[in-house]
C-alpha cells in the first residue's frame, strides 16, 4: 500500500521535477557552511526535545517572544514583543507585541499566532510538559496584546519563553501542511527561511530580506552533515566549511585539536563560558555507602587537584566551578569562591583519619560516561584518590545503562554533569537537589531535608528577582555545606570558524548560535 503510493508519487513527480530541477549555486562569500554531526531530529517547535541541531535551526528560522541579550546573557530583551509586565503574584504575564511583522508565508504575526503556537506546543510536545503544563490560559486581548496565566508562580517562565519550543509558528502554514507536514516545511518570522533538506546531506536556509530587525548579510546558510570529527577538522582547515560547533558536549572537544587549530591563521577559535557543570557525584541517599560519612566526602573533595585538571586535561578549555552554580549565572554567590574546597591531600588524609577510616579499606568503583575525555577525567580523579590511599576502579559505562544504574542509586561515586538549556538557576538547583526528584533523573540523589527542600521550592516561585537571588545565595551555601559532590569543571563553549567569518555571537543557555549578524569577508 505504502510502496504503491510511493511509486505512484514518484511517477507523477518525476516529469514535474525534470522540468524544475535546476541546481542553484550561490556566492560563497554570501553563504555560510556550518558543519553538524548528524541530521536534525526535528525542525519545528512542536516536536523539539532540546536536541542541538534542530534547536539551532529553529532559533534562526523562528523568533521567540523574548530572548537573552548578548554578550553576557544576564538580561532579557523583547524579540517579538515590545514590552511586558508580570503581575505581583507572578502568575500573569502581559505582552505588548511588535506590529507589522509578517511570517515567511506573508501572513501577519499577531496575538492569535502567539496563542496558537504556545497552545500547540503545550498540546503536542510532551518534552516540555513540566513547564508548559503550568500555563492555564492564554488570551489574545487584542491583535497586539497577549495575556498568559499560570496555575502557580514560576519566575523562570520568561526563560522558558526564550526556548526553541516556545518559538512562534505561522498558524496558516500549520493549517496548510498539517502538524506532520509542518515539520518538513517550518514557517516562522526569523532572519532565515527554511529552503530545503536532503537526508544526511544538508539543511538549507535562505535569508529573509524582510526580517523585522533588518535583512541578514548572509544570503544562505547550509548545514552540512559531516559525522566524523577528523573529517570536520580537515574540512575546516581546507575551507570546506566555515563553522564547526562543539555544542558544549564534552566528547566533542579534544584539547589537542584546539591547540593545533590555534596555530592555524585561517581558523578563529571563539570561546565562551557555559553553564555546564561536570562533577564527581556522591550517592547521597545510601546510609550504607562508604561516602555516607561527611568526613569521607570532605576528604575526597580535598583530594582533587582542580587546577591541575583544568590545565592538564583541558589545556584551558574549561573553567573552575565553585559550587552548584557557574560563575556566569546571575544567581552565583561570590562567597562560594572562598567556600570551595582547595586541593590539600594532607588535609584529606587527616580527615580520613578523623573519620576513623583506613583509606586502603575503601575500594570504590568510579563510574563514568564513555568517551576519551571522560576517560581522561576519570583517570585524573583516580590518580588523585590513589594519592590519599583510596583505590578506585574506573567503569566507563554506555549511556542508557549508565542512566539506569545512576537513577537506581547503584553507585558510590560517579562522574556526571548537567547542561542547562534555559538560563535560570532553577535549571541546576531544582532538578539536581530537590529530594522529591532524587530518583527521577540523573541527580545528586539528595536525602529528604525539609528545610532545604522548602527553600528550593520558595526560590523557584519567588517573583522578585533580588529576593530570589538572595534565596539562591543561601541555597548554594547550604548545599555546599552538605558536600554532595566535587564540582570538577565547566567546559567552555568552543566554536571554530574560518578567519573570514565575522559577527558570530555564542549563546550560553541554550548553547546555540544565531547567524543574523554574521558576515564573511
Amino acid at each position: 500500500m505504502k510502496l504503491r503510493n510511493l511509486l505512484a508519487g514518484a511517477a507523477i513527480a518525476l516529469p514535474l521535477m525534470l522540468g524544475s530541477a535546476h541546481a542553484q549555486s550561490t556566492d560563497p562569500l554570501k553563504t555560510l557552511i556550518v558543519a553538524v554531526p548528524s541530521d536534525a531530529v526535528g525542525l519545528e517547535p512542536g516536536a523539539n526535545k532540546a536536541e542541538p541541531i534542530g534547536s539551532e535551526v529553529i532559533l534562526n528560522v523562528f523568533d521567540t517572544l523574548v530572548a537573552w541579550t548578548a554578550p553576557d546573557f544576564t538580561q532579557l530583551e523583547g524579540r517579538l514583543v515590545d514590552s511586558w509586565t508580570v503581575s505581583p503574584d507572578g502568575t500573569e504575564f502581559d505582552f505588548k507585541l511588535r506590529e507589522g511583522i509578517k511570517f515567511h508565508d506573508g501572513t501577519d504575526f499577531n496575538a492569535e499566532a502567539v496563542k496558537f503556537s504556545l497552545e500547540r506546543t503545550k498540546a503536542i510536545n510532551t518534552y516540555v510538559e513540566a513547564t508548559f503544563g503550568l500555563i492555564s490560559e492564554i488570551t489574545a486581548v487584542s491583535p497586539t496584546e497577549v495575556k498568559i496565566k499560570l496555575s502557580e508562580p514560576y519566575p523562570a517562565f520568561l526563560s522558558i519563553l526564550a526556548q526553541p519550543q516556545a518559538a512562534i509558528v505561522s498558524p496558516a502554514a500549520v493549517e496548510q501542511f498539517g502538524d506532520e507536514g509542518f515539520a518538513t516545511n517550518p514557517v516562522g518570522t526569523g532572519p532565515f527561511k527554511f529552503a530545503s533538506y536532503q537526508a544526511d546531506t544538508n539543511i538549507v536556509l535562505d535569508a529573509n530580506p524582510d526580517y523585522f530587525r533588518g535583512a541578514p548579510t548572509l544570503e544562505r546558510i547550509i548545514y552540512r552533515v559531516i559525522p566524523d570529527a577528523s573529517t570536520r577538522r580537515l574540512e575546516l582547515e581546507n575551507g570546506g566549511v566555515d563553522v564547526v560547533q562543539q555544542q558544549g558536549q564534552l566528547s566533542a572537544i579534544a584539547a589537542e585539536d584546539v591547540a593545533a587549530l590555534e596555530a592555524n591563521p585561517d581558523v578563529t577559535i571563539i570561546e565562551a563560558p557555559s553553564q555546564i557543570i561536570r562533577q564527581l557525584e556522591f550517592n547521597n541517599n545510601n546510609p550504607d555507602s562508604p561516602v555516607a560519612d561527611i568526613k569521607v566526602r570532605e576528604a575526597i573533595v580535598h583530594a582533587i587537584d582542580y587546577d591541575g585538571l583544568l590545565q592538564g586535561v583541558f589545556g584551558g578549555t574549561a573553567e573552575r566551578v565553585y559550587g552548584p552554580l557557574t560563575t556566569n549565572s546571575w544567581a552565583f554567590n561570590p562567597k562560594m569562591e572562598e567556600l570551595a574546597p582547595t586541593y590539600d591531600p594532607e588535609m584529606a588524609r587527616s580527615l580520613l583519619a578523623e573519620a576513623g577510616v583506613d583509606p586502603s579499606s575503601l575500594d570504590l568503583t568510579l563510574y563514568s560516561f564513555q568517551g576519551p575525555l571522560w576517560g581522561a577525567v576519570a583517570t585524573f580523579v583516580q590518580a588523585n584518590l590513589a594519592d590519599i590511599g583510596i583505590n578506585a576502579t574506573i567503569a566507563q559505562t554506555e549511556f542508557p545503562a549508565y542512566r539506569a544504574l545512576q537513577t537506581a542509586g547503584q553507585f558510590d561515586v560517579a562522574l556526571d554533569g548537567r547542561q542547562p538549556w534555559y538560563n535560570d538557576p532553577d535549571a541546576h538547583i531544582t532538578i539536581g537537589y530537590l529530594s522529591s526528584l532524587a530518583d527521577t533523573a540523573m541527580t545528586f540523589r539528595m536525602p529528604e531535608d525539609a528545610e532545604l527542600d522548602a527553600l528550593i521550592l520558595e526560590a523557584q516561585q519567588t517573583v522578585d528577582q533580588e529576593e530570589r537571588k538572595q534565596l539562591y545565595f543561601d541555597i548554594q551555601e547550604k548545599i555546599a555545606a552538605k558536600v554532595p559532590g566535587a564540582y570538577l569543571f565547566s567546559p567552555k563553549l568552543i566554536v571554530f570558524t574560518r578567519a573570514n567569518v565575522n559577527g558570530l555571537v555564542i549563546n550560553t543557555a541554550p548553547p546555540l548560535n544565531e547567524y543574523w549578524g554574521v558576515s564573511k569577508e
Binding site: 500500500m1 535546476h22 537526508a199 544526511d200 552540512r224 552533515v225 559525522p227 574540512e235 570546506g240 533523573a441
Partner: protein
C-alpha cells in the same frame, strides 16, 4: 532456468523471516531504550515515559512484533523513531548513494584487479608479480579509515586536487530526481554537476576499491597459475594459437568463474558494509544510516535496513549463480 530462479527466490522467504525474528529480538536486547538515548542525560523519568508512550514502546513485545509483520505485508516498515518519517522512504532516499559508490568501486576494482591478476599469473615471480604482491598485501591489510585519512591528507589537504568529503559541492543545492547524482546531472544536462560529482566520488571509490582490487588481483593470479598449467592450455598452444588468444580466451575465461563469486559477494558486502567509508567521507548512504540507527536504538530503522541488506545480499548471490550458468555450459545444464 526459470524454475531454478523461482526455486531460489522462494527459498529466500524463510531466510528473511528468520533474519527478521533474530533482528527484532536482538535490537530489544541491547541495553538502553530509544527514548532514553534520544533525550540524553538531562531528561527526567516523566519526559522519558511520555516519549516511550508516544513511540508505542510501552506495548508488549509480541504485540509490537505482530504489528510490525502486519505492516510489512503492506509494504510498511514502520516509522523512524528519530525522524518520524516512514523507514522505507528513508531507506530509498539513501540507497542510491550507496549503490553509486558500490558500483563505481566494483568497476574500478575489476578494471584494476583482473589485469593485475592476469599479468602476474602469467609471469609468476617476475618483478611485476613481486610488486603487485606488496600492493595486494597493503590493500588487503590496511584499515579503510587509515587509507581514507592518508588519501584525504594527500589529495585534498596537500595537493588540493580533490575535496575532503561529501557527495557534491556544498554550494550546489539540488533536489534529487533519481538520487544518483551523476545520472541526475546527465538527465538535466548540467555538466558542472556531473563533473563536481565525479570529483567527490574519486576518494571514497578508491578506498572501497583498494581492498577489492587487491583481493581480486591475488585471486585471479592464483587461479590463472593453475589454469595455465592445465592440459587444454598446452593443447591450445600446440594448436599454434597466439599467446594473447591462449591467455584471454582459454586461460582468463576459465579463471574468471571463481572470481565472479568473489566480486559478487564483495559487492553485496559493500552495499551494507561501507559504514566506515561512508562515515569518513560524509557519504549519505545506507551503511551510515544503519550505524546511526544502532547508536540511537532506532528499532524500526535497524530492522528495515537489516532486512534490505539481507535481501540485497541474497539477490546478489542468486545473480552470481545465474552468471555462472551464462559463463559455464556445464552449470547451465545442471540448472535445468
Amino acid at each position: 532456468m526459470a524454475s531454478f530462479l523461482l526455486r531460489r527466490l522462494l527459498a529466500l522467504i524463510p531466510v528473511l523471516i528468520l533474519v527478521l525474528v533474530i533482528v527484532f529480538s536482538l535490537v530489544r536486547l541491547i541495553p538502553g531504550d530509544p527514548a532514553v538515548t534520544l533525550l540524553g542525560p538531562g531528561a527526567t523519568d516523566a519526559q522519558i515515559a511520555a516519549l516511550r508512550a508516544q513511540m508505542r514502546l510501552d506495548e508488549p513485545f509480541y504485540l509490537q512484533f505482530v504489528n510490525y509483520l502486519l505492516g510489512l505485508l503492506q509494504g510498511d516498515m514502520g516509522i523512524s523513531l528519530k525522524s518520524g518519517a516512514p523507514v522505507l522512504q528513508e531507506i530509498l532516499l539513501r540507497l542510491p548513494a550507496t549503490l553509486e559508490l558500490a558500483i563505481c568501486a566494483t568497476l574500478v576494482a575489476i578494471l584494476v584487479g583482473i589485469p593485475i591478476g592476469v599479468l602476474s599469473g602469467t609471469r609468476p615471480n617476475s618483478i611485476f608479480d613481486h610488486f603487485t604482491r606488496v600492493f595486494s598485501l597493503v590493500g588487503v591489510s590496511m584499515p579503510a579509515f587509515l587509507l581514507a585519512l592518508i588519501l584525504q591528507l594527500i589529495f585534498a589537504t596537500y595537493l588540493g586536487w580533490l575535496p575532503v568529503s561529501g557527495r557534491l559541492s556544498p554550494y550546489i543545492i539540488m533536489q534529487p530526481i533519481t538520487g544518483f547524482v551523476i545520472l541526475d546531472g546527465i538527465i538535466t544536462g548540467q555538466w558542472d554537476i556531473v563533473w563536481s560529482a565525479i570529483r567527490y566520488l574519486v576518494l571514497p571509490t578508491a578506498v572501497l576499491a583498494a581492498f577489492l582490487a587487491a583481493t581480486l588481483g591475488r585471486f585471479v593470479r592464483n587461479t590463472m597459475l593453475e589454469v595455465m598449467s592445465e592440459d587444454f592450455i598446452r593443447t591450445a598452444r600446440a594448436k599454434g594459437l597466439t599467446r594473447a588468444q591462449v591467455v584471454l580466451e582459454h586461460g582468463l575465461r576459465n579463471s574468471l568463474l571463481p572470481a565472479i563469486t568473489v566480486v559478487g559477494l564483495k559487492f553485496a558486502e559493500m552495499l551494507g558494509g561501507a559504514i566506515l567509508t561512508e562515515t569518513i567521507f560524509a557519504w549519505p548512504g545506507i551503511g551510515r544510516f544503519m550505524f546511526e540507527a544502532i547508536k540511537n536504538r532506532d528499532y524500526p530503522v535497524i530492522q528495515g535496513t537489516t532486512l534490505v541488506f539481507s535481501l540485497l545480499f541474497m539477490l546478489t548471490s542468486v545473480l552470481v549463480d545465474l552468471l555462472y550458468g551464462v559463463l559455464d555450459p556445464r552449470v547451465r545444464k545442471r540448472m535445468k
